[in-house]
């Protein structure tokens, strides 16, 4: 909380968290750790920790919201009171209401909503710890949760931001860089077609710089896309490869394993790693 204004954000091409200007923060995704949700994902992106859960397709309440020809998508982006430096009041802020909407609009194009008329699909995103770039991280996590819920998708949606700090275009701004920097360009794309489903920008950029930032953010998205796919294959392809003929008893690979100890161990491990990097 005691930030000195004179501190440089980039020194000899190295940022305050030891990254190069085109480096992403460390990203890990764990698929399906929640039992009650139809699909879920836990995403650690630098110091960001985000849980996304998907329920549905299910009945819509209130009923009049249901669409006769497609599923009704609802999305809530919410920050935990302890996720920020100052405690955040639990009631949704105007910022959260806006982000809920743009995240929904980023995800909806990927969902084959017309397969589920008169139903609702709920996407709940809880930011447990935030450190800049949570909207992109939320989209990334929510897309994995949608896939985990078995909802037919045209493609995953992946988010990543680029921006400008101290005159340089950099990838994936953290909180300090976002606050002290000159501009932030968060985007989300569907990588198979390159379709951009979220694009925002605040700050000041020349057209050239904007183009550079956009290219860099797309590059970042492609890297994150690989991490999403890897997380999903880790859960689902392993399931498929397990030879049925083997004499080992059927291994329950789903989240139904009693009290899922691995999950929490993983959580602990990753939080440790994160602490090491951040301190």
């Amino acid at each position: 909380m005691t930030k000195t204004n004179s501190e440089a954000l980039i020194t000899n091409g190295i940022r305050t968290d030891q990254r190069q200007i085109t480096d992403l923060r460390n990203i890990e995704i764990e698929v399906g750790l929640l039992d009650k949700a139809n699909g879920s994902a836990y995403l650690i992106w630098g110091k960001n920790k985000i849980l996304a859960a998907v329920y549905g397709p299910r009945e819509v309440h209130p009923r009049h919201l249901a669409k006769p020809d497609r599923a009704f998508i609802r999305c809530r982006y919410h920050m935990a009171p302890f996720s920020t430096d100052e405690r955040k009041h639990p009631a949704p802020s105007r910022r959260e209401v806006e982000l809920s909407k743009v995240i929904r609009m980023a995800l909806e194009p990927a969902i084959l909503t017309d397969l589920f008329p008169r139903t609702g699909i709920d996407i709940f995103i809880e930011v447990l710890q935030s450190d800049g770039g949570t909207r992109c991280a939320s989209i990334t996590a929510a897309a994995v949760a949608l896939a985990d819920a078995g909802i037919p998708l045209r493609d995953l949606v992946v988010g990543c931001a680029a921006g400008k700090i101290e005159g340089q275009i950099v990838l994936d701004l953290n909180d300090v860089e976002d606050q002290k920097g000159d501009a932030d360009v968060p985007i989300a794309i569907m990588p198979r077609t390159g379709a951009i489903s979220l694009l925002q920008m605040d700050g000041l950029l020349t057209q050239d710089e904007f183009r550079q930032a956009l290219d860099l953010a797309i590059q970042g998205c492609m890297t994150v896309y690989d991490i999403q796919k890897e997380a999903l294959t880790k859960k689902y392809i392993q399931l498929e490869i397990t030879p049925p003929a083997s004499d080992t008893p059927e291994e329950p690979v789903t989240s139904d394993t009693p009290d899922a100890p691995d999950t929490l161990d993983t959580l602990k491990e990753s939080s440790k790693n994160e602490e090491e990097v951040s301190e």
Binding site: M1, T2, L34, D35, K36, A37, N38, S40, K47, K49, L51, A53, Y55, G56, P57, R58, H61, R76, H78, A80, P81, F82, S83, T84, D85, E86, R87, P90, A91, D122, F124, E126, L128, Q129, S130, D131, A149, G150, P258, D259, A260, P261, L264, L267, K268, S271, E274, E275, S278
Partner: protein
């Protein structure tokens, strides 16, 4: 694709009840056994203290934030403790987004009373300038996955989070402003309350119900006990009734289980 957990097939209900009548559980536990408990303290670096606790598949995250503010006028030299609970819609198909409903308010208040009445946090040591400035300890309970027994899971997560909460060092200048230093100290605790909920299903008392078993509960009682076995808070919830004998039995059960948890789960973090 999605199902409501509140609805359980009659045949399933009957099986659960048949087991309980024979002092068994459908998942193989005894009536007074908890599911496995897992504790992950300090998972939220930005919080002053935190804990992710799971009992079986039920998962609760508690984050503690310590901030400064004005004391209550009737206790000018004591810090302030506030507890808030969010039934996050992530946790269950029956949780809806929106302002706290009566369930989350009850949950928060039961945890609050366990902590407050046991004097778990030594509030007298949280005064900075009497009558003007004190530390406020915010306990935010986040229900992440609801598979039954939210009270006990949340209470456990809350106390573990408080146990790893740190206070920032400070100095007070003459004009009454405070300056933080880099030093930190653990939050002063005087007691470690443990809450145990005893539920009644078909004349039997049992612990740690799953969400399926909760649908069959006649009534339940939550009992918070402190280090010296003192009872600090009790809450009977739900519509049904207990006999006096059942209440006394429940007290004994809760006391023993609290001891067990205090030794085997919390022991490592004291």
């Amino acid at each position: 694709m999605s199902e409501s957990h509140d609805v359980i097939a009659n045949i399933r209900q009957r099986r659960i009840l048949d087991h309980i009548r024979q002092d068994q559980r459908i998942d193989g536990r005894g009536l007074l056994d908890y599911r496995p408990i897992q504790v992950n303290p300090g998972i939220i670096g930005k919080a002053s203290g935190s804990a992710w606790v799971s009992i079986g598949k039920t998962k609760v995250l508690v984050g503690i934030k310590v901030e400064t503010g004005t004391p209550y006028s009737d206790k000018p030299d004591a810090g302030v403790l506030t507890v808030n609970a969010e039934l996050v819609p992530i946790a269950s198909p029956s949780f809806e987004p929106g302002p706290p409903n009566e369930d989350s308010v009850e949950l928060a208040r039961v945890i609050d009373r366990g902590l407050r009445e046991s004097q778990a946090v030594d509030l007298t040591k949280l005064c900075i300038i009497p009558g003007k400035l004190v530390f406020i300890v915010f306990v935010d309970i986040y229900i992440l996955d609801h598979d039954g027994n939210l009270f006990d899971t949340a209470a456990l997560a809350a106390i573990v989070a408080l146990m790893n909460t740190t206070l920032r060092g400070y100095t007070v200048s003459e004009d009454g402003t405070i300056q933080y230093t880099d030093a930190t100290s653990p939050l002063p605790l005087r007691n470690i309350p443990v809450e145990v909920t005893v539920v009644k299903i078909g004349e039997k008392l049992l612990l740690d119900p799953t969400i399926e078993e909760e649908a069959l509960i006649d009534t339940q009682i939550t009992i918070a006990t402190g280090d010296d076995h003192e009872v600090c808070a009790i809450q009977k919830s739900r519509v049904g009734t207990f006999t006096l004998d059942e209440v006394l039995q429940a007290m004994e059960i809760a006391k023993n289980k609290a001891d067990d948890i205090r030794t085997n789960v919390l022991g490592a973090y004291r």
